[in-house]
Amino acid sequence: MTSADRATDVRWRRHGDNLLRLIAAVPGGYAVASLWAMALARILPGDRVAATITATLIAFVVCAVAVMWAYAARSGWRALWTLTIAGGIGGAIAWASIASGGRI
C-alpha cells in the first residue's frame, strides 16, 4: 500500500465515522428520545396527564444529550451501538408496560 492509498483510506474511514455519528445523532437521537418519552410516560408516578407531559418535557433534553453523545463517543460505531442499546431499553420498558395494560 502506498502512502497515497493509506491517506485515501484514512479519509474514507473518517467519512464513514462521520456518517455513523450523523445517523446516531439525528434519526438516532430522535428515536432514543421518543422511546424514552414512551417509557417515562408509562412508568413515571402521578396521574396520567402529569406523567405524559413530564415525559415529553424530559424527552427534548434526552434528544439533545443523545446528539452530543453521538459526537463525544470514541468512535462512530460506539455512538451507534450505545444509542441503539439506550433506545432499546426505553422501548422495551414502554412495550412491557403497554402490553401489561393499565393505562391505555
Partner: protein, 538 residues
C-alpha cells in the same frame, strides 16, 4: 488503550468534538434560525406594531367600551351565529379583533380556516367597527417565526422545530466547549480579526445565556404536541381525553331555537375578574341570542405566568355561573409556565424591554456565529482569490440573510405605509412586497462582491429604518412630535426604536466600510494538526 479518563486527552478530545458539533449544528440551519430569532424578537412588540401599522386608529382608553361595542356590533351583524369570539383589548392594543362562526346549514360542510375575511372585524376605541388599512400588522412577524410563509404550517413548524433542536444542541455544546467560560465571556478584543468575532459571539451568547437556553427549550415545548407526541401515544388511545384535561372546555349545549336576548356582558366581566383572580382576556359566546346561550370568560394571558389561563362560564340569559375550569395539575402548570415564559406576555414594560434586548443579543449571537465561520476560514484559505464553493456559498447566504432579512422586514413596514389603501387583498400585498424585495436583495448579495455588498446593504437597511419615522412625521398625524405631545408612548416608542435600530445599522455599515484587513503577516504555512482556533484566549 490506556487513556487517562477525566484529565488531559479525553477532556480535550471531548471539548474538541463538542466544538465541531457546535459549529455544524449552528451553521447548517443558522440562516433559518436567524430569521426566526429576528422575527420572534420583533414579535415582542406585536401589539405596538399592530397599532403602528394602523395609524388611522385612535388609542384605546376604555377597554370595556370596546367590548360592549363588539357585542353590539356582533348582535347586529351576526345575531344567529353559532359562536362569537371577542378578545378583550388593553390600552396598548389596536382594538378587538372579533370573529364569529356562522351557523352550519344542514348538509353544508363547515367552512374551515381561521381568519376568513368575511367573518371577522376590528372593533376600535369607540366601540365601532373600524375602517383602517387592511394589514396583518405585528401579528405577521409573530406568526412568521413559527409558521413561516408560503407553505403549510405543518411543514413550517417541523422545520422551525428541527432548527430549534439544532439550536439547543448548539447552545449546550457552546457552553461545554469552554474551559474558562467567565474569562471568555468578559474578554472583548477589538481589531483582532477572527478573535474579535469570537469574542463578540461569546459575549452576545453568554450575556443572555439564561434567556437563550430558556427561549430555545420553551420554543420546543410550545411545539411539543407535534414534535414529540409519543408519550401521548403510549398513554392514550384517544388523545382528545388528554386535551380535554389540559384545555378544559365548558360542556357543549345544543341550541334551543328560542330567541332570547343576551344578558349584558359588562357586569359579567367584573364578576369574572373577581372570580378568576385577574382581568379577563377573552370572551366567547356560544349560541348568542338563544335560550341556550353560554358566555365563557377566560383570564388574560398578560396577567399570569402560565399560558393555561383559567375560564369560567355563565348562562347567557340569566348571567348565572354554570361552569368553572378545574384547577390544573402541576405538570400542566409547568408546561403552561414554559409557554408563558416563551411568549413573555406576562411582563410589564420593563420585562418586555428585557426580552427585546435579549432577543437582539440572540440575533447578534446567531449572526456573529455565521460570520465567524467565514472569517475563521478566510484566514486559512490556501488561495484567497479562489475560495472553495462551500465558503463562497456561506458568505453569500450570510449577506442575504443577516442583512437581507431585516431589510425584508423593513420593506414590509414600508409597504404598509405606501401601498394604496383601497387595494384588493392589501394585507397579502404587504407580505408579498416583503418577499419580493427580499428576493431582489438576495440576488444582489449573490452577485455583488461581498465586502461591498455588506456595506451597501447595511447602509440601505439603516436608511430604510431611519426614513420610516421621518415619513410618519411628515405624512401622517401619528408622527413622533404628535405622539410624544399626546403621551402616546407606544407609537412614539416604536418610532424611536426604529430610529435607534437604523442608527445601529448605520454604525455597523460605517465600521464595515472602514475595515481594512491586516496584511497577512505570515505566508500560509502548514497549520499544525492540533491547532484549535476554538481554544479560549491565549
Amino acid at each position: 488503550m490506556g487513556v487517562d479518563r477525566f484529565r488531559g486527552t479525553d477532556m480535550k478530545g471531548f471539548r474538541q468534538s463538542q466544538s465541531t458539533l457546535h459549529t455544524w449544528s449552528g451553521l447548517l440551519l443558522g440562516w433559518i434560525l436567524f430569521a426566526v430569532f429576528v422575527a420572534g424578537t420583533a414579535a415582542y412588540w406585536r401589539e405596538a406594531l399592530n397599532r403602528w401599522t394602523r395609524p388611522e386608529l385612535a388609542q384605546i382608553e376604555q377597554p370595556e367600551r370596546v367590548v360592549s361595542g363588539a357585542v353590539a356590533y356582533l348582535t347586529k351583524r351576526a345575531p344567529d351565529a353559532q359562536s362569537w369570539f371577542i378578545p378583550v383589548p388593553t390600552t396598548e392594543s389596536a382594538g378587538s379583533q372579533v370573529f364569529w362562526q356562522p351557523q352550519v346549514e344542514k348538509g353544508e360542510e363547515r367552512r374551515r380556516g381561521r381568519g376568513r375575511r368575511d367573518t371577522q372585524a376590528l372593533i376600535g376605541a369607540d366601540g365601532q367597527a373600524v375602517t383602517a388599512r387592511e394589514t396583518r400588522g405585528g401579528d405577521f412577524f409573530y406568526r412568521f417565526h413559527f409558521d413561516l410563509h408560503y407553505m403549510p404550517v405543518f411543514w413550517a413548524r417541523w422545520i422551525v422545530g428541527i432548527a430549534a433542536m439544532f439550536m439547543l444542541v448548539a447552545i449546550l455544546t457552546g457552553i461545554v466547549t469552554h474551559k474558562k467560560i467567565f474569562r471568555d465571556f468578559f474578554t472583548l478584543r477589538r481589531g483582532k480579526g477572527q478573535r474579535s468575532w469570537l469574542d463578540g459571539h461569546n459575549a452576545s451568547a453568554v450575556l443572555a445565556l439564561p434567556f437563550h437556553l430558556m427561549i430555545t427549550y420553551t420554543g420546543l415545548v410550545t411545539l411539543m404536541a407535534m414534535l414529540m407526541p409519543w408519550a401521548v401515544v403510549a398513554n392514550y388511545t384517544d388523545e382528545t381525553k388528554l386535551f380535554a384535561a389540559v384545555f378544559p372546555q365548558a360542556p357543549v349545549v345544543e341550541r334551543a331555537e328560542r330567541v332570547v336576548p343576551l344578558t349584558p356582558i359588562a357586569p359579567l366581566l367584573r364578576d369574572a375578574e373577581r372570580e378568576l383572580g385577574g382581568p379577563v382576556g377573552y370572551v366567547g359566546v356560544t349560541n348568542p341570542n338563544d335560550a341556550a346561550a353560554r358566555i365563557t370568560m377566560t383570564r388574560a394571558g398578560t396577567s399570569m405566568l402560565s399560558a393555561r389561563t383559567p375560564s369560567i362560564a355563565y348562562d347567557g340569559v340569566t348571567g348565572r355561573e354554570v361552569w368553572r375550569a378545574p384547577a390544573p395539575d402541576g405538570a400542566t402548570v409547568t408546561q403552561g409556565a414554559m409557554v408563558g415564559l416563551h411568549a413573555g406576555r406576562f411582563g410589564d414594560f420593563g420585562i418586555r424591554w428585557l426580552y427585546f434586548l435579549c432577543g437582539i443579543a440572540g440575533s447578534i449571537m446567531v449572526a456573529s456565529g455565521l460570520v465567524l465561520w467565514t472569517v475563521k476560514r478566510r484566514e486559512r484559505l490556501p488561495d484567497p482569490a479562489r475560495p472553495p464553493f462551500g465558503f463562497r456559498m456561506v458568505e453569500r447566504l450570510n449577506i442575504g440573510f443577516v442583512a437581507g432579512f431585516p431589510i425584508a422586514m423593513t420593506l414590509y413596514l414600508w409597504a404598509n405605509r405606501l401601498l394604496p389603501l383601497g387595494m384588493e387583498r392589501r394585507a397579502d400585498g404587504e407580505i408579498n412586497a416583503m418577499f419580493v424585495g427580499w428576493g431582489i436583495v438576495f440576488a444582489y448579495a449573490l452577485v455583488r462582491q461581498p465586502n461591498r455588498a455588506w456595506v451597501e446593504l447595511l447602509g440601505l437597511l439603516a436608511g430604510l429604518l431611519l426614513a420610516l419615522p421621518l415619513y410618519n412625521l411628515v405624512a401622517l398625524p401619528t408622527g413622533l412630535v404628535a405622539t410624544i405631545l399626546r403621551g402616546d408612548w407606544v407609537l412614539a416608542g416604536a418610532d424611536l426604536t426604529l430610529a435607534g435600530l437604523g442608527a445601529g445599522f448605520a454604525f455597523a455599515a460605517w465600521r464595515v466600510h472602514r475595515f481594512r484587513p491586516k496584511a497577512r503577516r505570515r505566508a500560509v504555512r502548514e497549520m499544525p494538526v492540533s491547532s484549535n482556533a476554538w481554544a479560549p484566549a491565549e
